[in-house]
């Protein structure tokens, strides 16, 4: 998966492109560890370019949701495709994450 980091004031946006599955989840997990250690005020994960998510990918997102609590980083997701959003609904994660339509809304809310 391609991960592009955009630092924008106190917000860090990670633009994800590709598949988020058991093969790529460790790569994202490593990147998230690094970004969380930098303690941005807001961490936005843009999933608009992600056309496939498995439970291995969801697990990485659950892990980062726990990691951001103690340093007080606000975590926001955006750009979920319809079938990816469906997966969040099925697994009850839609209530756990703050989900926005796009990057700007995710950063500013």
């Amino acid at each position: 998966m391609d991960i592009t980091q955009i630092d924008d004031g106190d917000a860090t946006v990670l633009v994800l492109v590709g598949r988020l599955d058991g093969g790529t989840a460790p790569q994202l997990g490593t990147k998230l560890d690094t970004v969380v250690a930098q303690r941005p005020g807001v961490l936005v994960l843009d999933l608009d370019g992600v056309d496939y998510v498995s439970s291995a990918g969801l697990r990485v997102l659950i892990v980062v949701a726990k990691q951001v609590r103690e340093p007080g980083i606000r975590l926001a997701l955006c750009g979920l495709r319809a079938h990816v959003r469906e997966l969040f609904d099925i697994s009850g994660l839609a209530q756990v994450f703050d989900i926005f339509p796009d990057r700007v809304a995710a950063r500013d809310n």
Binding site: G22, G23, S55, R59, I62, L87, I90, S91, G92, V96
Partner: protein, 137 residues
């Protein structure tokens, strides 16, 4: 009656090939994209489970996947020679639980149960057989 058999080595990188081969098979059979996506994901979850948990030696194993598209139904059977393990017996995760109370495991099987019409496990001699099927609406 399209059918296809795929043999996977017990390595996690093989799951991608399974997903892509399954997507091609179903798309070529005219299965709607939303069904293709759910079905391929369900197979990913089961195969990932088998590769991660079924084998307690360091040996190479083959997981056989038989795809079939017939009678308005897309189905797959996964056959492995790992230890007897019925993933359907695993506790369902509590979907209303707060983040801290959520078990990390069980999510994949939950997704399979929610998205497939048939999910079945059988122990057959020294083999595990997992079957999933989705009716094409």
């Amino acid at each position: 009656m399209p059918r296809l058999t795929i043999e996977l080595a017990n390595r996690i990188e093989e799951v991608r090939r399974l997903v892509e081969t399954t997507e091609d098979f179903a798309q070529n059979g005219g299965v709607p994209p939303a069904v293709v996506a759910r079905f391929a994901l369900a197979l990913d979850e089961l195969a990932t489970n088998v590769i991660s948990y079924a084998f307690n030696d360091d040996l190479a194993h083959i997981i056989q996947v038989e795809l079939a598209l017939e009678d308005g139904r897309l189905s797959a059977e996964l056959i492995d020679d790992g230890r007897a393990f019925d993933p359907l017996q695993a506790d369902a995760p509590d979907m209303a639980a707060a983040l801290d109370d959520r078990p990390i495991g069980g999510l994949g099987i939950h997704i399979v149960r929610k998205t497939m019409d048939v999910v079945r496990y059988q122990r057959d001699g020294n083999k595990n057989r997992l079957t999933i099927a989705k009716v094409i609406g």
